[in-house]
Point group: C2
Chain length 378, copies 2
């Protein structure tokens, strides 16, 4: 480690999946949600200082892989995230993610972190932040349509940040609702299992839709709704995937994160390109109105934007360094003389297991040894 | 590790800087260059099967950070790479890079690898591959203008893949040329230090320009050149950074990797948007001619394209797994029930060093412990 400890600025802190969970558990999920929401709000309020672009996406028949970059003058962040609905049948999550925070003055990556759990946290924090500005004051009841992987985080964010006390649950899969009720049993939330979307939304101040179906669905239709409700539409988040009937959008005032991306991916993809929509940062800075009366229907058409991951990575970076979680890795090279890249090859090769014909049987198994000590390998 | 060893498909193989150097040393640099060139050629020959886009870039006054994604129907790859000319004064390389290879069927990241060294290798392999199709047969002498971090790799690639025997060197910084001559002393190449670009290019079959100056430079002008030379222009690779006088391009037949990106970043950024240029894959597949005579001047306007990193990552992945190099990491989460992300938080938090006021002094130092065993932490 000698060569590296003299230049720690060049090493990257790595937070594996377990490390991120440990950081969140140490902070407490409610505190973490609040901290991320505050950080997102602060970052959204300085919206014009960011270099923004819609995420890049590579599609196949199986799913999508996306890169979501964003930067200000000091920090660059990006997230890698996939969406593969059939993954659960293989024992893999539908969505997996990781991200990097880097220094814009040098380009050196500062943090590499698993972001699957963190994506659910930042999405819920974003939802609650938007609702704080768009829902009627003091909401008490939320309908939660879609009780899958993200549902717990949505319920707990609205409890912690808006004081929601009761959640009315519906999912086409009863097992998902059972899982959710089990996970939230000790939360203090009053949970009601409902037999339909229509039943779930009765009396709700806020309706959160977070369904996984990758089609143009109309989970919510206009006749189900009551004046004054706020709709937090999370699951219409890629081309061809929507949750709201167009009439719902036409009767509401609609807010989004980053308009160029939401036009392609959000529920408003169903409407004309000039359908009026307000970017949330304008509400947060006070330049545009949020809710304008108790009888207005509001929609937050959330697709997830890179700046939320930027904020999440900052919170993780701060907390992990304070707590001493994570390991430093050589994610990028640090030759002793930075102009002499070739010198990296000058060290003798480590003694490897040579690939002989007799080793062929081992080739079908993963060729990595779990017992390798990374610190020693650096 | 129990939970993870049952689902190894979900883990990612990590190759740190040292691991990549070990793989290259084990293969031998010449073999590695040849293998990468072959892989790039095979991938370029199936060009239409890739989902391609120009790289995304975030610029500041200090430099640029880029993401370079590309995918076919089975694999997704991206590279993170920066360019910060003032980094060497901080002891950091100007360019640092890492990349990921992922499975398009599931979105699971398969390989995470340091790519600074690998970027120099794939760039040199690409240069030699292009020259194999664009230079006159049996080149013997190469001029190498710019003797910085990438110069060794260019010289050795042209020796290994084209049989170049003599290299004529020039750099504005004599220390760079000394470093290069030292590193290549045992290569078998005949090396000549030259006093000017003009002197270096005399009698050269191939002229490689790989300078770092981030300006519109004219390192090569038309009157320096002789008929039949091939120019491998590597250092004009971002907006505002060029190496060739426009007349050089106008007198030559010009080839590039991916036209939409080269129009923005390459030496042809100086010319009209309809200046004729041929994408190299068309030459490799035989649909377009390469060099058409011994007196023609040819230019490969190379800026570096994501597909070269895709090919490089494939070579690294194959070799590292065969050699047993690298460590598996939990780059993405693997909850036991993929629909129950919340379960990741159910494990008790690890005992951390609590951040008390008395620990403040430690906060200025990196808050990571080099002695942590990553395998144990997973």
């Amino acid at each position: 480690m000698t060569a590296h400890t003299t230049r720690p600025a060049g090493q990257t802190l790595f937070l594996a999946a377990r490390d991120v969970a440990d950081v969140v558990n140490h902070l407490g999920l409610a505190t973490c949600l609040a901290r991320v929401a505050d950080r997102i709000e602060a970052d959204f309020r300085r919206w014009p200082s960011f270099d923004k672009s819609p995420r890049s996406a590579c599609h196949t028949e199986h799913g999508v892989v996306e890169l979501m970059p964003v930067a200000d003058s000091t920090c660059f962040a990006f997230k890698y995230v996939n969406g593969h609905p059939a993954n659960t049948s293989l024992g893999l999550p539908t969505v997996m993610a990781f991200g990097v925070l880097a220094d814009m003055h040098t380009g050196a990556p500062r943090l590499l972190a698993e972001l699957t759990l963190a994506t659910a946290i930042r999405t819920a924090a974003m939802s609650a932040l938007a609702a704080r500005h768009l829902a009627r004051p003091n909401p008490r009841v939320m309908a939660l349509i879609g009780n899958g992987a993200q549902a717990e985080f949505q319920a707990l964010a609205f409890q912690a940040l808006l004081g929601v006390q009761a959640v009315r649950l519906y999912d086409t899969d009863p097992a998902a609702t059972r899982k959710l009720m089990h996970n939230l049993a000790a939360s203090g939330l009053h949970l009601t299992r409902c037999a339909s979307v229509h039943e779930a939304v009765q009396g709700a101040d806020i309706i959160t839709t977070v369904t996984a179906d990758k089609t143009r669905a109309a989970v919510l239709t206009a006749e189900m709704l009551s004046p004054g409700q706020h709709i937090n539409a999370v699951g219409g988040d890629c081309p061809g995937k929507t949750e709201l009937h167009p009439e719902v959008l036409q009767q509401a005032r609609v807010f989004c994160e980053y308009e160029p991306q939401t036009r392609i991916e959000g529920d408003i993809q169903q409407l004309a390109p000039d359908f009026p929509v307000t970017e949330l940062w304008r509400v947060l800075t006070g330049s545009h109105a949020g809710r304008q009366g108790d009888h207005e229907l509001t929609v937050f058409d959330s697709v997830g934007f890179a700046l939320e991951d930027f904020s999440m990575l900052q919170v993780l970076d701060d907390a992990a360094r304070r707590l001493g979680v994570g390991v430093p890795i050589d994610l990028v090279a640090q030759p002793p003389n930075p102009k002499d890249l070739y010198s990296l090859l000058r060290r003798p090769a480590a003694p490897f297991a040579t690939a002989t014909p007799s080793a062929t049987a081992a080739h079908s198994a993963p060729q990595v040894s779990p017992e390798v000590d990374l610190a020693a390998a650096l």
